[in-house]
Symmetry: C3
Subunit: 373 residues, 3 copies
């Protein structure tokens, strides 16, 4: 692989709800990771390979916070140390430990640090607090895409594709005519669209009770390395404050499985419809169609096309860039810079808290796209 | 790949009937090609990769001779130039064009030139006019074989296999006893069998109304590089002119998809049974059995066997040749020579027109195999 | 492949019962081998690639001890010489022969020698005579495992896994508490467990008419290179001679298909229940569960885990060894040594005949594990 993955970075390993009473496995940047919850409910992560014979531990048993290897019964505690060798004199070799990884449960997600333990600082986890904020009913899921994570980030960082790939659902003339501004703060990138006074995209219009009248539409995307995106997107009657409309915080977090496969964690935390199962279902269906049936096959076909050109990523070919690629291009640039220094310098998001996001959003009523910083 | 494909050569991209009102894709010598018909009915070919993000254009839309990329809506005209960038100021970068390929519709087929445009001369397309000659009812199709195209050409250029692989259908004792002659003219090769005064192969006998009496049987194969074959094959009562029997011109054109996959275009243009749907069906079934169920699995197994010997083609192993391999060996030799000079010298078929073919075929009544030149 | 297969060694190509009146193919250490029986019942082995066009001969016909190639009808006798070229003047090139391999039918199995003919000595075939000894009713089979053969041998040479992977079937507390001794004689390795005076493993207990009382349990494993194992395993009432209990000779012979696939030949020759179809079925089911549903998925998952660590075998990673790995480790050492000298020195098993095995087994009643040499 020519472009190594960032190691000193937080990756989403799983939604918190995915890890229950059973051993859980997920492959992250090419490493098979075992995750489980201790009896106190906290989750831990370690290499899934038993250091003895490299059997996958997730096929074993969990009992009293201790994992038993399915093959020869060696047991490991939650710090990865072998605590039982059931054979012979029972001596445990000092090297019999499996590597653990810092794991933090935050914003309804399990964040894993794949790099040097000493550099793991939970304060550098981007803010996705909307996902655990009861004011915002949330639906969520994970999709496996057979594509490099940067190709998927390109898709999300250039939302001009919505009026084509998602025409009839998420696209609108107002988006095409809207203003777009890119800004960067530290290693955090913002790609903001402000699309005032037009008809809402069909899916939004339907969710706004078939409003059918002009609205202001905003799409404010925040990106943090390696590929953690939050989209503040919504509509409100033209010229009216956000609170008179509806909006959602859309999570798009990409965790590479390997060079050409990605775990796509999506979430939709909406501003309305508490306890409304119908609204839950509408968002689940909209995202299943848009991400699963429109983005996924297209990006996977793009990946195969690149393979025919001898490349695994768009950087491997001589692509023609457009001004609308400024978002993806800037994100790739930040990533490329981080690759050079990542042994010492993790990404440091400058993302604001959710309350700041809402407070700042008033700026757009002046007809100006104010980055949500 | 050790043996490069000929670039300066015409390949069959599709049967004309395969390309209708929709965008059509086919991978040819490792390149994904988009083909579509303009409103005037003429067909064009271009690289299927959008130069912007390498999305496959064939998943987009065709309207007014213009292709819209499915991803971000860039539009390309039939000359491959981007004619619309729907985003921002709408400026189109000068490099925003997709490579086009010379494409000619001839003999019911779409022929594509994969090399330098300046060398593309439609006059060097071999004569398969029987396919568009109304005197010869034609059935046709395309089979994907998971084998190198030269292995399939070997099969066709040495028809001694028919009495074994196609025993009970296309083989006969007369073929075994027949005379065989190889000749070459320019880069065109002829491999002709004259098998007089014997019982016809079962399939031929059946199609000749269960004639059950001795016939003269001829199999005249013409080969042009890279792998365009036409077989003039038929039976007639012993000693009688061709016109008292039945025959067909059999198309066997091999277009490499990649090193180990091939698009096999087959056709059967017969001398009899105009409008006879039963005869159409007989030929379709005979070819489905012979090519699809007998040749295909055998050649694919041969390909796997070569892989176990570390080779992708028979040239990679130390095979024992027989005199009956003269046809395949000569064809491989012409191809090897062309590979050396192909940057400047395309194959130049010396194939005769269909009328010449028929006129010359009288020669075999003297008991001598006259090459059909 | 970094670790070459031993060439100068006997491999099991098939159970005798697998090769009947038809041509039979099996891929062994990466080579496709054709096996068939002559009319006198003796079996022969040769390269499955026709030297002419490398078509697979096993798809052809067998008649009068002669194989006809499915492609062009060349015929080969049982010495691999081409005896018929049905084409042209019928001349047979002197090089038209397919390589034959020494093949010996012994102990109900077909043993193939993959190395230099001159070194093939049937006397060096390990003793598996229990399989053809009518005193021992035998069930047998072959399983394809998608794993390197040494990983499977590791499994068999360290039976401490039975109480974990096969808990509830073949494991017991007595095995955990038992004595274990490794010994080597020439290139033959013994890994013996003596587990006196405990409850039998569930499967054994059931087969011993639900005895439910303490037994002596022994597991004596014999290994010969490349991976030929025989397990003398059984139970008898505590302190009583073997003849008052039940036992079986378990065959575990691993023939590499290629680097990551293995033909696993298993057999169970038991000391009791002549003509007892119920006992046959019990062993078939126990082995189907234990090997097919427990060992196979675990070892295949181990193989995939090693692949994620960039290795195809455990030697490619820095594994933590335990004292209980002495059996696998020693077997790997013998194999590694043989790899260095194998051009001149085949493995020479020192395995005793079956009668010696039984005679020596009395040793364990002294509470001491006597290697069965």
């Amino acid at each position: 692989m020519s472009k190594p993955f960032l190691r000193n970075a937080w990756y989403v390993a799983a939604w918190g709800y995915e890890v229950g009473a059973e051993l859980f496995e997920r492959t992250i940047i090419g490493e098979s990771i075992l995750i489980f919850r201790k009896s106190d409910g906290s989750a831990v992560a370690m290499s899934n390979a038993c250091p003895h014979r490299f059997a996958p531990l997730h096929l074993g048993k969990l009992e009293n916070d201790v994992v038993e290897c399915p093959y020869h019964g060696l047991r490991y505690d939650s710090t990865g140390h072998c605590v039982l060798n059931p054979h012979g004199n029972g001596k445990v070799p000092s090297r019999a430990r499996t590597k653990t990884y810092p794991l933090v449960e935050l914003h309804a997600m399990l964040w894993i640090w794949m790099g040097a333990d000493a550099l793991a600082d939970p304060a550098t986890i981007p803010d996705f607090s909307c996902q655990s904020d009861e004011s915002f009913p949330t639906v969520a899921g994970v999709i496996e895409m057979h594509a490099n994570y940067e190709l998927i980030a390109d898709n999300l960082m250039d939302l001009t594709h919505v009026e084509f790939l998602h025409a009839g659902i998420l696209g609108s003339d107002a988006i095409k005519a809207g203003a777009h501004e890119i800004s960067q703060s530290g290693t955090t990138l913002y790609s903001n669209r402000w699309c005032p006074d037009g008809l809402a995209p069909p899916a939004w219009n339907m969710m706004f009770n078939n409003y059918n009248k002009p609205v202001d539409h905003w799409l404010y995307m925040r990106w943090d390395a390696p590929a953690h995106m939050l989209l503040d997107v919504g509509i409100t009657p033209t010229g009216r404050p956000r609170e008179e409309g509806i909006w959602m915080y859309g999570t798009d977090i990409l965790t590479p499985k390997d060079e050409t496969s990605t775990h796509y964690f999506w979430g939709a935390s909406r501003s309305y419809g508490h306890g409304d199962r119908q609204a839950d279902k509408q968002w689940e269906e909209a995202i299943t169609v848009a991400f699963g049936e429109q983005d996924k096959p297209l990006i996977e076909a793009q990946q195969r096309m690149l393979a025919m050109h001898g490349a695994t990523d768009i950087d491997g070919v001589d692509a023609v860039l457009l001004p609308s690629d400024s978002g993806p291009t800037r994100a790739r640039k930040i990533l490329a810079d981080l690759r050079k220094v990542n042994e010492s310098a993790p990404p440091t998001p400058r993302n604001p808290s959710l309350s700041e996001l809402v407070a700042n959003s008033a700026g757009h009523y002046a007809g100006k796209v104010t980055p949500v910083v």
